[in-house]
Amino acid sequence: MASTEALLPVTSRQDPLSESRSDQIPETRRRRPIKVHLAVYSGLLLIALYVALIVTHDGSTAQHGAKDESSTESRASLAGVSEKSNDRVSRLSDDRKVEAFPWNNTMLSWQRTAFHFQPEKNWMNDPNGPLFYKGWYHFFYQYNPNAAVWGDIVWGHAVSKDLIHWLYLPIAMVPDQWYDANGVWTGSATFLDDGSIVMLYTGSTDKFVQVQNLAYPEDPSDPLLLKWAKFSGNPVLVPPPGIGAKDFRDPTTAWKTSTGKWRITIGSKINRTGISLIYDTTDFKTYEKHDTLLHQVPNTGMWECVDFYPVSKTQVNGLDTSVNGPGVKHVIKASMDDTRIDHYAIGTYYDSNGTWVPDNPSIDVGISTALRYDYGKFYASKTFYDQNKGRRILWGWIGESDSEAADVQKGWSSVQGIPRTVVLDTRTRKNLVQWPVEEIKSLRLSSKKFDMTIGPGTVVPVDVGSATQLDIEAEFEIKTEDLKLFFDDDSVEADKKFSCETSGGSTARGALGPFGFSVLADESLSEQTPVYFYVTKGKHSKLKTVFCTDTSRSTMANDVVKPIYGSFVPVLKGEKLTMRILVDHSIVEGFAQGGRTCITSRVYPTKAIYGATKLFLFNNAIDATVTASFKVWQMNSAFIHPYSPDDLGVPSRT
C-alpha cells in the first residue's frame, strides 16, 4: 500500500516536506534503471552463483571479513557505488525510458516476516486492547477479513506466553450491532479493582457516527478470552456538542483518580486544533464530560489513538496507568492524522482538574519538531501496563510502503513492530527510551562476534551466512585523534540544518560520518539499506550525532516509497555510540543509544533476498577511522500459527 509520503507531486500547505520535494518527486517516481530485465536475470544468476559460493567458501570469507581494515579496492567500490546511484538519479528523469517493475511471487513471498506479528493474510492496522490475563498476553488488532487493503474492519485476536510466539485465535468482535455496524474500531482495555476486564472501543454506527462502546469477556474463567459480550446499553458515549460525528474515536485505558472515579481520554479536533476530551465514570456505562480538555495544541489536526500514562522519574520499571505522585511524570501521545506521525510529550498531570501541561511547550504533542516514538514507519501505537513483569509495553502498527497492487498480489498488508518496553530516560529526563522486549532473545540462534577498525571510505562484507533474520548489537568509537582534529577545527562550522532526510543519505560524506551497517544488501551493493550514525558539529561547538536509515537504494523497484529516515540522538559524556538492528525480511528496526532514537523501515529488495542477502559494515567518513565492536545473531522464526489444543500449557516454542 502506498503511503502518503509524497509519491506524486501535491501542493499541500499542510505538508511542507512534500512541497519542497515536489520537483524531485516526478524524478523519484520515474527512477527506474534502464535495463531492469537484464538486472533481474543477472540478479537471479547471481543468487544461484552465490548460493554455490557460500556453500563452498564459507570458512575463508569469514576470516577475510573479520580482519579486514581499509583497502583501496574497497574505497573504489564504495566510490563506485556512490557514483552509480547518482547516475541512476540523473538518468532516470525521463519516465518513458523506464520500465515498470514486475514483482514475481518469489520476491513477494520473501517479504513476509519471520518473527513480527502479522495475520496469516489480508490487511491489519491499529493494535487494540493489549493486556496480560491468566498467564497469556493478549493482542487484538484492526483486521480486514476480506482484502489486503483497509475495510470491513473487525477485531483480530492472538495470544502469546512471551510477546513473541503468537497463536492466532478466532476473531473477537465483528460489526453485528447497529452501533458498530460500520466498523469495530480501535479501543483499550482497563482492569477493574476486582481484576475483571472492561474494553472500550469505537464503533462506527449504521449512520456512520463514531461512538464509544463497552465490551467485556463473556467468560472470565477462559484464559483465552475467546468470546466477548457487548453491553446492551451501548453506545456509552456519543460525540458531544461541538465535536464532529466523525471526529470521536480511540478511547484510552482508564486510570483511577484520587476521588476513586475512573477517567478516560479520547482524541478529537476543533477546526485545526488537536484536542483530548476527558470523561469520568464509576461504572463505565455513564460518564461525566469535563468542560476542560486534558490538553490541546493548535494546528495539529485530528488526534487519533491518544495514549496517556505515567512514567517513573527514577526507576526503569513500568507503572500501572493509575499511578500518580511526585516521582512520576505523565506522557501524552497522539497519532497525527495529517502527517501519520506518532508524537509524544512529557509533562505534568493535574488530577484535581484533569489537565496536563508539557515540560517543553515548544515541542508539544503534534508540533512537527515534537519527539516521536519512531522516526520511520510507525503509527497508531498503544501502550499497556504488563502487570506480569512490571513493564509498560508499546505496540506500533507498521504499514507497507509498497503499492497496493503488490499487497493484493502477495495477499497481505502490514505488520506490528516488536513490542518495546518504554521508560523515561533517567539520564536526560527529556525523552523516553524504548527497547525490544527481552523475550526476543529466545529467538537468538548462533552468533558471531567481530572487532573491526575501518578507515575512511571503506565497505566491508560481514560474513554471517544468512542475513535476512538478524539481531545486531554494535558499539562504535571514532578514533580520538580524528575527533579532536574535527572538534578543534574552527573552520568547521556548526551544521544546524543537518537532518537525515536532507543530508543526501548514506553516500553524502562528512568528516565524521556516515558509518554503520548496510543491511539487506546484495553482493554488489546495488540494493542496500544503510543504518548509520553521522557525527557533526552542533551548537556551542559540541558534537551532534544523528541516527538514520536510508532506504533510497534499498530496492531496484520504483513502485515503493524509499525515504531516508532518522533523527538527532542524544549522546551523553562518556557514552560510546551504540546501535541495535533487528532485520526480519521486509522490516528493519534500528535503535540508537539504547533506544533513545528508534527507526522502523519497510524494505522491498528484488535481488538482496533469500541466500543473496548480505550484511556490510561501512565507514563513509572522509577523515575518521572508526572501531566497530559488534555481535550478530541469527534469529529463529517465531512460528506464529493458529492456536491448537496442543499449545495449551506449552510455555514457549524454541
Binding site: 520500465e99 462506527s204 492524522d337 503499492s403
Partner: protein
C-alpha cells in the same frame, strides 16, 4: 417623482451589486477547487455531476472517486482492446491490467468506505495509490505507451482528489 425614481434606481443598483458580490464569492465547488492544484479540472469534474452542487467536502471527494472509477473502467476497456491491435505489447498490457484492476477492486472501494466512515486517511492512501498504479503501468511501455493520455488524466484526477481528501483530515 424624480426623487422616487432615483431611489428606485439606486436600490436596484445596490441589489445588483450585492448579487454580483455574492455570486463572485463562488460556490462550494469553486471554493473547494481553489485549494487544489488544478482548479479548472476540479470544477469541470464536479460540475459534471448532478450531486456536485449540493455536496459537502466528503460528497465532493466521493464524486471524484467515482470519476477515478469511471476512468479506470475506461482504461481497462482500452487495455483489453489493445491486446488485439498491439499484440507485441502483451507484457506491458498484462501489468497494466493488473495495476488498473487494483485501482478498481482495492483503491476505489477502500477510498469510498474510508471517506464515508470518516477515516479519510485510508481514502488518501487509496487515491494516491491510483496515481501510482497508473504511473507504473505507463512506465512499462518504455516510452511508447498507447495509454499516455489516460495515464495523465488519472494522475491529475488523483492529485486533485487527494487535495480534497486531505481537507477532511
Amino acid at each position: 417623482m424624480k426623487m422616487m425614481m432615483m431611489m428606485k434606481v439606486m436600490m436596484m443598483v445596490m441589489v445588483m451589486v450585492m448579487v454580483m458580490v455574492m455570486v463572485s464569492e463562488g460556490s462550494i465547488i469553486e471554493q473547494t477547487c481553489k485549494e487544489t492544484q488544478d482548479f479548472n479540472l476540479c470544477v469541470s469534474l464536479l460540475n459534471s455531476d448532478p450531486r456536485g452542487s449540493s455536496a459537502d467536502t466528503s460528497g465532493l471527494a466521493l464524486i471524484l472517486i467515482d470519476k477515478i472509477k469511471g476512468l479506470t473502467t475506461k482504461t481497462l476497456n482500452e487495455i483489453n482492446g489493445l491486446y488485439k491491435k498491439r499484440p507485441e505489447l502483451k507484457r506491458a498490457l498484462d501489468e497494466c491490467s493488473r495495476r488498473y484492476k487494483t485501482i478498481l477492486n482495492a483503491d476505489v472501494p477502500e477510498a469510498i468506505e474510508a471517506i464515508s466512515k470518516g477515516v479519510p486517511k485510508f481514502g488518501e492512501d487509496g487515491v494516491i495509490d491510483a496515481g501510482v498504479e497508473a504511473s507504473v503501468c505507463e512506465g512499462g511501455f518504455k516510452g511508447k505507451s498507447p495509454l499516455t493520455s489516460l495515464t495523465k488524466s488519472m494522475q491529475k484526477i488523483s492529485n486533485v482528489t487527494r487535495a480534497i481528501v486531505r481537507m477532511l483530515l
